[in-house]
């Protein structure tokens, strides 16, 4: 008799792996069967994530301190592979499952037919994401990073075209170099400490002295650099906007959680190494400075760009910058609010990428360019004279109203205006920062954070106000949007989830604050991993 609950941590990895592989065996013509498998796999991942969320919260009392350790090869911890689930990992798994399901349903409308093996690649991407959140082992982190990156290369190129291929070329080159950095750092850390297990590493890092400590710090610095590339921190993020902007809509939507993997890794490893003195790249000053630069870069880019997809790309950068800045503050007061911001911003940017593609369909030549630019370069719409008669039919008010409302909701969420969850997230972040400023001796950092977050919000309001006016009010020529339920539905669901986050902010923040407190006590994590019993010593099941 298999104890299904005991094996819960492996499902988020095993389910998409099996589903993705099974779909490879089906012929291209059997779209229905493939779509069914893909949706079933995403639903199963969502269910597994919900179970893990409940288990990590202490339901059933299976896991002491809410930390579950799973030994896939049944070897004891420092030697074998471990998967570790705590609240933070469970939250990220849930977020991935929700975003994955929404993007998948959106893609079923037409995007999955643009190329081969979309669904398999999509499942492998989810597997890589889930694995990276679950693993308790540095080398497996690299392997899962590679799984998700390899799938993302294929998905970015999905649909082909000049823009995608040339953006993909740069994306792949940058990420290959980042992967090599990751390998160098892993090898260096193993060479010094003799372990790859994160918990064991946290223990052994404290015992290093002299030149060994210096080598370890060098390795950790390279490791941090590799994660910062993935997180999209300035000046390592020039690949991001073009890559995400050229990807097809559902792919870009699911990519919006990929930068958060880098931030998750920084947070996880940083929290484990902190008690022994975190090496430079994980220490707070560097993260704060990098985050601030990223935030400023994102805000300036948002104001400068005129294309909607790229604007959303800059929103991803702003979100990464805000998170890095907030996590770079000392103490855990800001970690809980930062996690809330992470949830809200990932759901928002995901919905926004899909919404932008729906809006783009309604627009005509030159609509991406501001009126000033049109005048300056004396551009004329070559199709204008004979277009107005061709477009027949009455614009469906419901569809336009939906697009407009969804755009307003996304803009409110991104900029952090009331009443949606973006406001709750930013407000709790700023309030925690002010509390930290009053409590600490050097309050300058907290006030810089407040100023930067508010200024980036202002930049967002200006940019999206400008874009919204141009799209919905001043565009006199527009084709009729045709919305399918499978396209509008996921966008609506993601936005409604943000509304739900705002409504249920109390319980959600309580869970996230618990997650932050768990991160502040790495000893619990280390104990849980190193004392995990194998099934054989328990007498077998």
């Amino acid at each position: 008799m298999i104890d299904w609950l005991q094996h819960a941590p492996i499902y988020p990895i095993a389910v998409p792996l099996i589903a993705g592989a099974a779909m490879l065996l089906l012929a291209d013509t059997r779209r229905g069967a493939r779509a069914a498998i893909a949706v079933a796999s995403c639903l199963a991942q969502l269910a597994a994530a919900v179970v893990l969320l409940a288990l990590a919260a202490g339901a059933g009392g299976h896991w002491p301190n809410g930390i579950g350790v799973y030994l896939p090869g049944d070897w004891p911890a420092p030697f074998g592979i471990v998967l570790v689930v705590d609240r933070l990992a469970a939250i990220m798994l849930g977020l991935t499952a929700v975003l994955g399901l929404a993007s998948l349903i959106y893609s079923l409308a037409r995007w999955d037919r643009l190329g081969v093996h979309f669904h398999s690649l999509f499942q492998f991407l989810l597997m890589g994401l889930n694995g990276a959140f679950l693993t308790g082992d540095l080398f497996n982190l690299f392997v899962f990073f590679e799984v998700l990156l390899a799938a993302s290369y294929g998905l970015l190129l999905h649909g082909s075209g000049v823009a995608r291929v040339s953006a993909g070329l740069q994306y792949i080159a940058v990420n290959l170099v980042a992967s090599f950095l990751l390998l160098i750092s892993i090898a260096l850390i193993y060479g010094v400490t003799g372990t790859l297990n994160l918990a064991d590493l946290a223990v052994r890092a404290g015992t290093l002295r002299g030149s060994e400590r210096l080598l370890f710090e060098a390795g950790a610095a390279v490791l941090g650099l590799a994660f910062l590339v993935k997180a999209g921190a300035w000046p390592l993020n020039f690949w991001l906007v073009r890559g995400y902007g050229s990807a097809s809509a559902p792919v870009a939507a699911v990519f919006s959680i990929m930068t958060k993997v880098g931030i998750y890794a920084l947070l996880r490893i940083g929290s484990l190494l902190l008690p022994t003195g975190a090496p430079a790249a994980f220490s707070l000053d560097w993260m704060f400075a990098a985050g601030l630069a990223t935030l400023i870069f994102g805000a300036i880019g948002l104001l400068a760009t005129q294309q909607l997809e790229q604007m959303v790309g800059y929103c991803v950068i702003i979100s990464a910058g805000t998170l890095l800045t907030a996590l770079g503050m000392p103490g855990v007061t800001l970690t809980g609010p930062a996690l809330f911001y992470l949830l809200s911003s990932v759901l928002t940017t995901g919905a926004f990428f899909m919404l932008v593609e729906l809006i783009e369909r309604t627009r005509t030549f030159g609509a991406n360019v501001l009126a000033v630019t049109l005048d300056m370069f004396d551009l004329d719409d070559p199709t204008a004279p004979n277009r107005s008669d061709d477009v027949v039919g009455v614009a469906i008010p419901a569809a336009m109203a939906f697009l407009g409302l969804a755009f307003v909701a996304c803009a409110l969420l991104v900029t952090g205006l009331p009443p949606l969850s973006g406001f709750v997230a930013k407000f709790s972040l700023l309030s925690a920062a002010v509390t930290a400023a009053n409590a600490s001796l050097q309050p300058a950092d907290a006030w810089i954070l407040v100023a930067a977050v508010l200024t980036s919000g202002l930049a967002g309001i200006v940019a999206f106000g400008r874009a919204g006016i141009r799209i919905f009010w001043s565009a006199d020529e527009r084709s009729t949007p045709r919305l399918r339920l499978s396209e509008a539905g996921p966008v609506a669901v993601l936005i409604l989830l943000c509304v739900g986050l705002a409504a249920g902010a109390g319980p959600v923040s309580a869970y996230l604050d618990d997650a932050a407190r768990t991160l502040d006590q790495p000893a619990q994590y280390i104990d849980a991993v190193l004392s995990a019993n194998t099934a054989r010593t328990l007498g077998g099941h």
Partner: protein, 114 residues
């Protein structure tokens, strides 16, 4: 032996980085390949360089850990070789697609103005 080994890694990594920063896609892929060689050698070197100590446990004699090479970096380097090889092969395909679609082998998809 360590000096030669380290110098080889340094030369490979240095040449690789220089090539990656070049504007032609073919130079970039050669650079990535050279860097991946350097990284693989580096991982291998992190298990310490030893001669004549295969990490094979004798069934009869009790093993002496000091007499065996560290097998883990060897396993890691195999994984790294496989992954690096596959992603480089994928990059080659994208490179060819980009060459076909844009008609140039510049990394930006167009020739620089100068």
């Amino acid at each position: 032996m360590e000096l030669i080994y380290a110098a080889a890694i340094g030369v490979l990594a240095g040449s690789g980085v220089w090539l990656i920063l070049r504007p032609r896609t073919f130079q970039v892929i050669m650079g990535l390949t050279l860097v991946s060689y350097a990284v693989n050698l580096f991982i291998f070197g992190m298990g310490r360089l030893t001669v004549g100590r295969p990490p094979i446990v004798d069934a009869v004699v009790a093993p002496d850990p000091a007499a065996l090479a560290d097998p883990l970096p060897q396993a890691l380097v195999l994984t790294a070789i496989v992954i690096g090889f596959a992603t480089t092969a994928l990059f080659l395909v994208v490179l060819l697609a980009s060459r076909g679609l844009t008609g140039t082998d510049h990394v930006d998809g167009r020739e620089s103005e100068s």
